[in-house]
Each structure stands twice: as structure tokens, then as C-alpha cells.
């Protein structure tokens, strides 16, 4: 079954100012969905709400037809992996252990090493496997945090600005990887970016969040 996320009349705001007016949206697996928006437009809040990390909203978010409010933390973590803009700079945890932490309880122990090696390989982070998180550059850590989300082995992946600290080539590579994962493995991948060009080039479906409105960017508007 293809994973599905649906927003139903979703509204949220901050200090009485609506960041999003009631909006409907349906996303399903096999697609890379891109979201553009300026700083402070509410992109990160939208991601946190869809990920079930924020409950201060009206309307509803449905995960495979079930309201997110009625799902448990475990259930959500089995379906949705999240990449935020936070970069935890830990001294005592290396990349391999981080991936293990994400895959723990979702991949059986015999296949753990193989699974982690695969996730390291596809995100081009295998050479950092034994480095500690505190010793990685911003860009490296961002790639690693994305790889960690993959290691969580979910059908839905929400990535808030996953390419913000990456150089031009790495940006292209990571976004191409997201597209490939969505197409080949029927994952639903929803990412945000300031970079309109990047969203244009790779996303199958594109949205813009501005002035409290979530609008689909039509093909002809892209030119």
C-alpha cells in the first residue's frame, strides 16, 4: 500500500497570526513533493505538525487515513522519519551508532549491519561511519542526519531544509537521491527548500507557502 498524508482544513498560527489558513492537501507515495517559502513563512511549523511533533493546530492531518492525533509516538516513528534543521553535535556518538539508534527495533539484528552499510552507501557517508558527530562539518552532519532518517526505515520522510548547508554538487546529489527513493521505493518524501531552482528541477509536485496560503505551483508558472 502506498503511504499517504492528507491535510484537512489544517490551520495553525502563532500569537494570533495565522501562518496557514485552512488548507487541504493530499500526498501519496512514489512522489517527491517540494515546498518553497521564505523565512518565517511557517514551513518548519508545517513540518513539525505533519510529523506529529506539534499539536497546536486545528483541522486534521491524516496518516494513511488515520488522524495523527490518534496515533502513538511509536506508530508515528514507524511510518514517518524526520530531518529537521537541528544538528546535534555529540562528542560521544559516531555516525554508525547514530544509524543504529534510528534502525533499532525496526530492522532485525541480523540484518542491522547490512542495513546500516546500505544507508551509509546511498547517502555517500560511508567514509564518515566512525567519525563522531561533533567532528563533522555542517554539511557532512546534514547528510548524516538525512542518512539517519533513511536508516529509520519508514515509508514517509519529511525533510525540512535538508540541503541548507550543502555545496552545489551535494545539494543536487541529495535531492536526486530523494527523487530516486520516492520513485523506486514508493516512499513519500516531502522536503522544503529556499532554493526554487532545486524544487523546480527535482520535485514531482511543488508547493509554495506564502502569506498563509499553501499553493500548488503550476507548470506554466515555473517558466
Amino acid at each position: 500500500m502506498k503511504p499517504e498524508l492528507q491535510l484537512r482544513q489544517l490551520t495553525f498560527g502563532y500569537n494570533g497570526i495565522a501562518l496557514l489558513e485552512p488548507s487541504d492537501l493530499l500526498m501519496s507515495g512514489g512522489q517527491l513533493v517540494g515546498l518553497c517559502g521564505l523565512n518565517g513563512s511557517g514551513k518548519s511549523s508545517l513540518f513539525r505538525i505533519i510529523a506529529g511533533l506539534e499539536t497546536n493546530y486545528t483541522g486534521d492531518v491524516l496518516l494513511n487515513g488515520q488522524s495523527l492525533r490518534n496515533t502513538s509516538i511509536i506508530e508515528r516513528s514507524q511510518n514517518i522519519a524526520v530531518v529537521t534543521t537541528e544538528r546535534p553535535r555529540l562528542e560521544g556518538i559516531d555516525v554508525w551508532t547514530l544509524f543504529e539508534m534510528a534502525a533499532h527495533g525496526r530492522v532485525n539484528p541480523e540484518q542491522m549491519a547490512q542495513h546500516i552499510e546500505h544507508c551509509l552507501h546511498v547517502t555517500d557517508t560511508a567514509h564518515m561511519a566512525h567519525r563522531r558527530l561533533a567532528h563533522l562539518s555542517d554539511g557532512e552532519l546534514q547528510k548524516v542526519m538525512f542518512g539517519r532518517a533513511l536508516a529509520q526505515n519508514t515509508s514517509i520522510l519529511l525533510a525540512d531544509e535538508p540541503t541548507a548547508f550543502l555545496d552545489y554538487r551535494a545539494k543536487q546529489e541529495l535531492t536526486a537521491l530523494m527523487r530516486k527513493l520516492a520513485h523506486d521505493q514508493n516512499k513519500l518524501i516531502f522536503f522544503s527548500s529556499h532554493d526554487l531552482e532545486l524544487v523546480k528541477e527535482f520535485a514531482d509536485i511543488r508547493y509554495a507557502l506564502a502569506n498563509g496560503k499553501l499553493n500548488r505551483i503550476a507548470e506554466d508558472q515555473l517558466i
Partner: protein, 342 residues
């Protein structure tokens, strides 16, 4: 891979610690105020001794004391490890939640009450008044913290709350001491110096059981505790209920440190230093490795500090700090790449 090498480091750490534990346990049986020969010790153990004094010395004095030092050291270190995780701060320790100061307050209150009634605290000691007061104080503070922590969403508020509670009880203790008589103040001060010597076998059983049960509970939470290091958002997205975990960690810590403080006094420094050393030895913060390492190292630290305090006839807390502080400073100077961080 890395995991294998860190598992090897853990194994080496555990083996070396175990060997040292056995050596020091043996020494603690033989040496002390009264010195036994190995032959005399063996004859006590296999029951062939003809000296009832030796038998009493081993079974009723040295064994319980050894057990207490091991159990208390393990409990304090585990608690320190939990605290450092809970506050995501390598300088957190068992005393940070205010539970220790709650115990002190309990004891100070009893001291004050006996003064007001014109009694001497020493006359009441056979009733176990001091430990009971300490336990009541610890549990009182713990329940306040648990109530408040439900309303607190982040560890910073909890940290400030715990520290403030410590100051508050500190102030109350000062007032109580001011109103107390000299002999009772002396009892209070003696309790505050910490000791593993005054624990009865039944209380020792409670300590050992608490260590065993809390170890098993915490060991099962190793992965959630690792998740917790990444921050609340990531931890929750990876399936860890951070509120529940935080509450459980506070409760377990409170019981651990409350019990130890009640019967051994507010033992300082072990709970702070040992988890740091454990992380250095296993080479990381992965709780699957630091939990067993910190527990065993804590037992060793409890034992070594207690032996030192016997040999030098100094109070326990003087030894823990005198040994712990230089060790921590040396580690700080030697660690180039910030290995002391989480």
C-alpha cells in the same frame, strides 16, 4: 566495525574493573583496624576458625560494609549517568535534583526537634531516626519534583528548579543549625561526612535489590536514552516518549540517591566522576556500553574510597572529593578533543 571495537573496549573495561574489584574486596577483608592474615581469613570463610571475634569481624562488620560500599557506589554512579543524560550535561550529578538536600533537610529537622525537646540525638540513634528522616526528606523532595516535572517541558526548567530547591533547603538547614545545640549539630555534621559503615544487613539487602532492579530497568532504556541525547524533537520522531522517559529517570534517580543518602549520608563526587570516566574508557556516550561500565566502575569507586577512608581514618566525603577532583582535573587537561562532553 566501530560497534565491535567499542564492545571490545567495554569488555576490557569490565574485565579490568572486575579484577580490581576482587583484589580490593580481598584486601578489605584482611586489612583494617584489626589485621588478619590470609590463613585467618580463609579459616573464617570455611568455618574452621576458633576465634569468634574474627567471625564477627568478617561477617558482621566487614562484609556488610563491603556490600554497602559496592551497592552505594553502583547506585550513585548509575544515578549520575541518568542525570547527565537527563540534563544533557556532563557535569550533572545525583545531588542536582535537590533530593540529597531533601535528605539533609530531613536530618536537620530531626536534629532541631530533638534539641527543642531537650534530647540528645545520639541517644535516639538506635531507633534509626536519622536514616528515616533522610529518607522522608528525599521522598518528599522527589514527589515535589515529580509533580512539578509534569508541568515542565524542558530539562532547563527542571535543572533550575532542582538547584533552587537545593538553595532553599540549604537556607532552612542553616536556620535549623543555628537553633540547634552543639552535640546535635555534631551528629548532623558527622552524618554529612558520609559513611558506608552503619548499614544493617536488611538495609543492605534493600540497597542491593534496588541496584539490581534499577540496573535492569535502565539497561532496557539504553536506546531511548541514546535517542534523548539528540534532543526532544529527534528523540520523539525516533519513537521515544521523552516526557515519560524524563519522568521515569527522575523517579529512579530519586529512589537511588534517596536510599543511599538516607543510610550512608550525602556521598559526594562518585556519582559525578564515575560516569565521565566510564565514557572515557568505553570511548563514547552509547548507553548500551556506559550503563554496565558506569555501574561496575561505581562499585569499584565506592569500595576504593571506603578502603582509603579506613586506612587514612578520614571521613568518606573527604576521600571521594580528594580523589575525584584531581582525577577529573587530570582528565580535563589530558583530553584534547573534548571527550568529556556527551
Amino acid at each position: 566495525m566501530k560497534t565491535i571495537s567499542s564492545q571490545r573496549r567495554l569488555r576490557v573495561t569490565l574485565w579490568i574493573t572486575t579484577v580490581l574489584l576482587l583484589i580490593f574486596s580481598g584486601l578489605s577483608m584482611r586489612f583494617g583496624v584489626v589485621e588478619l592474615s590470609w590463613a585467618e581469613f580463609v579459616s573464617v570463610v570455611n568455618g574452621t576458625t576458633e576465634q569468634p571475634m574474627h567471625e564477627r569481624l568478617i561477617w558482621q562488620v566487614r562484609m556488610p560494609r563491603l556490600g554497602t560500599a559496592l551497592a552505594a557506589g553502583g547506585l550513585l554512579s548509575l544515578c549520575g549517568l541518568l542525570m547527565q543524560n537527563l540534563f544533557r550535561n556532563p557535569l550533572a550529578g545525583p545531588s542536582l535534583l535537590g533530593v540529597t538536600s531533601g535528605s539533609s533537610l530531613g536530618v536537620a529537622l530531626v536534629t532541631m526537634a530533638t534539641t527543642a525537646l531537650g534530647w540528645q540525638l545520639e541517644q535516639l540513634s538506635f531507633l534509626g531516626v536519622i536514616p528515616l528522616a533522610a529518607l522522608a526528606g528525599a521522598l518528599g523532595v522527589l514527589s515535589i519534583i515529580l509533580m512539578v516535572s509534569k508541568k515542565m517541558n524542558d530539562h532547563h526548567s527542571l535543572l533550575i528548579f532542582g538547584v533552587m530547591l537545593g538553595y532553599l533547603t540549604g537556607a532552612l538547614i542553616t536556620i535549623l543549625q543555628f537553633k540547634s545545640n552543639a552535640d546535635n549539630i555534631r551528629s548532623f555534621v558527622m552524618w554529612g561526612m558520609g559513611s558506608f559503615a552503619d548499614v544493617s544487613p536488611s538495609i543492605l539487602m534493600v540497597l542491593v535489590l534496588t541496584l539490581g532492579v534499577s540496573y535492569l530497568i535502565i539497561q532496557r532504556q539504553a536506546m531511548p536514552m541514546n535517542h534523548f541525547l539528540l534532543g526532544d524533537t529527534y528523540a520523539r520522531s525516533m519513537g521515544t516518549d521523552v516526557r515519560k522517559l524524563r519522568r521515569n529517570m527522575v523517579a529512579i534517580c530519586g529512589v537511588q540517591v534517596g536510599l543511599v543518602t538516607a543510610y550512608c549520608g550525602p556521598v559526594a563526587f562518585i556519582g559525578l566522576t564515575v560516569p565521565i570516566v566510564a565514557r572515557l574508557l568505553v570511548g563514547g556516550s552509547d548507553h548500551r556500553q556506559t550503563i554496565p561500565a558506569a555501574t561496575l566502575l561505581g562499585m569499584l569507586a565506592g569500595l576504593v574510597c571506603d578502603q582509603m577512608s579506613i586506612w587514612l581514618t578520614l571521613p568518606l566525603n573527604a576521600i571521594t572529593a580528594a580523589m575525584g577532583a584531581p582525577m577529573l582535573i587530570a582528565l580535563l587537561i589530558r583530553s584534547k578533543n573534548g571527550m568529556l562532553r556527551l
